[in-house]
Point group: C2
DNA sequence: TTCACTGCTTTAGTCTGACAATTGAAACGG
DNA sequence: CCGTTTCAATTGTCAGACTAAAGCAGTGAA
């Protein structure tokens, strides 16, 4: 329960917190590609941490492709093309800092490419155990709705099992990155405006196609599901004022 | 000039080298998920580096999801499902250490899902400049063949431009990760047995479809290209014996 | 003038040794 | 038997010094 999903600033060591703070500044454009960061000495002083801790934070950012460090020249923010956009942390940082609509569109475009095929593969390869788990998850979803934490957890279980059933580790990593980020915003959207549409029928259709080992039907059903999710996202109200909210749809 | 392309073990600082070494040990199964690494003190002594440098290496691995560190308990290798398999470095480490056929199959499966759609999007969105660049790349490819570094560079240019034309940053990151890794197998294949099939016609077909803004044709052509690449990889002989060499470069 | 060299200087990179914080497990007490 | 406390092992953080890489300016020669 609870699991605040590491939202604000807890349980991370200080190098982790620093990495997150700097990461957010970078992906949100406060520090722009090509710019130099402060020198290690200046930065560590300003953040009131030791140089070692600051360096570990920078190593994390470098591991995710956001910066490169070179002696004498400094640590420079890399061009966007080099960022590891599918890294779960990077994605989280992006979502944490008011992503532009454009970014959300691109993400859904990716989902539209990947998830239907994943569903098709799952239809071919799923075990009966996996179908049982998905059935149970769908039932829980129906019972609790996406308005509750239990319901969202069930949704996540549904998709996780589907990905597992696709039996492709790369597909699995990829889509889990995406759905993690997307689900992150789901709760918020729920808060802004309760779900306008019942997501259960879409999921049920996907499940039945997979249960009956029908790849084409699974692909079609999943495509529809993602399309509708995108539609919901598009029609979600813009954040009222000042602070913008992120929108999105249940994975 | 020269540009050794950071193939073996140069130009990386020692934390980078350490991270690579440990990373390879992990993805290759020498250190298995669930196992504990040595304590920082022991490890840094054994590798003859300072604890600080060792810690920076571990931070890099943690940033890629390969390990987690906790006080009092130590640094533990995470289960495979948590690894960031699409991180370029992780992918490189996997390829550097005798990936099983299964892994290659899964990767091609992913390409088969993603690249045809990317081609379709490119057909819709490409600029005329991009078509020109791809045409030029294809010409260079024809001239030099994939047996040469120039030819492989041209191949890379072709695919990079295609991805750029798809105008989706996530797709771009994703496929560039893949193609980097795949290019390694290309070079190896070249070495073991010169190319059995001329790749130029496949590429030309993709290019023409994109040039004439025909998404469906682009999708079909790209699907064929990936299928044939997979076929070539499958029929490539397994590594002869004993220690396999690492390959590098090209796309 | 131009160009190659040579040092200077700035910056990240590395090392050392100490201390703090966390937390699993053992020791203790009820 | 169970909850609580204490302990100890391990990562986390800190400070300061030194090393190595690399841009840059100054120098000298062609």
């Amino acid at each position: 329960m609870a699991r605040p999903a590491s939202s604000s600033s807890e349980c991370l060591r200080i190098h982790g917190k620093l990495a997150r703070d700097l990461g957010v500044q970078i992906v949100s454009g406060v520090i722009r590609p090509g710019e130099l960061l402060e020198t290690e000495l200046a930065a560590s002083e300003r953040h009131q941490v030791s140089r070692a801790a600051y360096r570990e934070a920078v190593r994390i950012l470098a591991a995710k492709g956001l910066v490169v460090s070179r002696p004498k020249v400094g640590t420079r923010v890399t061009p966007r093309e080099q960022w590891h956009l599918l890294d779960p942390d990077v994605l989280a940082w992006i979502f944490q800092s008011d992503p532009e609509d454009q970014v959300l569109e691109a993400l859904f475009e990716l989902r539209m490419v990947v998830e239907p095929e994943a569903a098709a593969l799952a239809a071919e390869r799923r075990t009966s155990d996996q179908v049982a788990i998905m059935r149970e998850a769908l039932r829980d979803m129906t019972e609790h709705t996406l308005g509750t934490a239990e319901g969202r957890a069930a949704d996540q279980r549904f998709h996780t099992t589907l990905l597992l059933a696709s039996a492709n580790p790369f597909l699995r990593t990829l889509t889990s990155s995406i759905s993690t980020a997307v689900s992150w915003t789901t709760a918020l959207k729920q808060r802004v405006r309760p779900l306008v549409r019942d997501p259960v029928p879409d999921h049920a259709e996907v499940l039945e196609a997979i249960a009956s080992r029908d790849p084409d039907a699974a692909r079609r059903a999943m495509r529809k599901l993602v399309e509708l999710a995108l539609f919901d996202t598009r029609t979600a109200p813009q954040a009222p004022s000042g602070r913008r909210s992120k929108r999105s749809k249940a994975a």
